[in-house]
């Protein structure tokens, strides 16, 4: 993002609301805090195919938190970079663990049935594009400070400051949906009060277009990143009730598994050096030898692609 980029959209969202906003490739979505700490719940769709949308679960494979230079990945089998986070201040806690706040939980916990949830707010924002509450997906949480222990996650004091802004560069045309998180007035997620947020779309310039092209090229070259053309079924069903298609034949990948017996000769001394691992790394000699082979391969040859940043950070 460059300072020369101009806003083509500049709005303030009041609590408790959201907005579905088209952001075209090369444009930058900027979300800012106006008057202080406010948790923002964010959804993202491919503008031209709503069945492709942000997969927080796969973003979580990189880390429990998002941050600068991280991607908004789409759902497999596409698994493509939708946006790139290009700026995020340290005061913006980000979280990929906590599911959207739901009014049901708030009602059960506080006995008040008038509190909106993520499901309510997101559904209202999505309605402008004829998407329903069922299309809302797990949010990327911005300005949500979380920690975790042996039981699970918990929210801590929101450290957001007025003027904080998160910038996300669109790598494809997307429908970006920031919403003010519900329940912020009843939890530390908003320090027990709601605040507005500012949302801008910054126009693309040559620098942002170049970066979007570069990241797209670098992160969409895998054969297993399927496109709609690869789908056995391409039609989106409209009936709510599910019924089987009698003539359907699945076409599973790499099916069936075919095993080959491979004879491996060890000296008795070599085999004795392996035996202490039997039981812990394999129930039989064959399983043990295969396990040791794959430990070696993982540590010595396996690449760390799709944004796994280093072997040290990868729990193989």
């Amino acid at each position: 993002m460059t300072t020369a980029q101009k806003s083509r959209l500049d709005i303030v969202l009041e609590p408790v609301s959201g907005k579905a906003i088209p952001v075209l490739k090369g444009e930058t979505l900027r979300i800012s805090l106006v008057s202080g700490a406010q948790h923002v719940e964010f959804n993202c769709f491919n503008l031209h195919d709503h069945k492709e949308y942000m997969s927080v679960g796969h973003m979580r494979r990189e880390s429990f938190r998002a941050g600068p230079d991280r991607m908004i990945w789409s759902n497999p089998p596409r698994y493509r970079p939708m946006m790139k986070i290009v700026a995020m201040p340290p005061t913006c806690g980000s979280d990929l663990l906590v599911a959207g706040s739901v009014s049901k939980v708030l009602e059960a916990q506080f006995g008040i049935d008038g509190l909106p949830g993520f499901d309510d707010t997101m559904a209202q924002a999505l309605g402008e594009y004829n998407l329903t509450a069922d299309d809302a997906h797990d949010p990327l949480n911005l300005w949500l400070n979380t920690e975790w222990d042996h039981i699970g996650t918990f929210v801590t004091t929101n450290s957001g400051k007025p003027g904080d802004c998160v910038d996300m560069l669109a790598l494809m045309d997307v429908l970006a949906v920031p919403t003010i998180a519900a329940g912020a007035n009843f939890s530390l997620s908003g320090n027990f009060s709601y605040k507005p947020i500012r949302v801008q779309v910054l126009e693309a310039d040559s620098s942002s277009r170049e970066e979007a092209d570069r990241e797209w090229q670098a992160n969409t070259a895998l054969k297993t990143q399927r496109t709609l053309d690869d789908y056995k079924l391409k039609t989106i069903r409209t009936e709510r009730s599910l019924t089987p298609t009698d003539s359907y034949q699945p076409d599973y990948v790499n099916f069936p598994i075919e095993w080959t017996d491979i004879e491996v000769l060890f000296s008795s001394d070599e085999l004795q050096s392996i035996w202490p691992l039997r039981g812990r790394m394999g129930a039989t000699d064959g399983e043990l030898v295969r396990t040791l082979f794959f430990h070696w391969y993982t540590e010595n040859r396996k690449s760390h692609g799709l944004r796994f940043y280093s072997p040290q950070q990868l729990h193989a």
Partner: protein, 66 residues
């Protein structure tokens, strides 16, 4: 009286055969290593040499965190 045959030569090292099962995708890794040429050409030879290299890397902590 039965005669006793004395063998002067030291016995050859005994070998142990282990049958390892690889599926068709796993075998592609053997093809990659075969192309490298460092660990041998036959599947069994490659697996053996890789396992021994792994144990060497982990020595003396073989059996520790892997």
């Amino acid at each position: 009286m039965a005669s006793t045959k004395i063998v002067d030569d030291a016995p050859a090292p005994r070998t142990a055969k282990v049958i390892v099962q690889f599926d068709q995708q796993q075998r592609k890794l053997l093809d990659f290593l075969r192309a490298e040429g460092t660990f041998g050409r036959e599947d069994g030879e490659i697996i053996r040499n890789v396992v021994l290299d792994y144990l060497k890397q982990k020595k003396p902590a073989a059996g520790g965190k892997a």
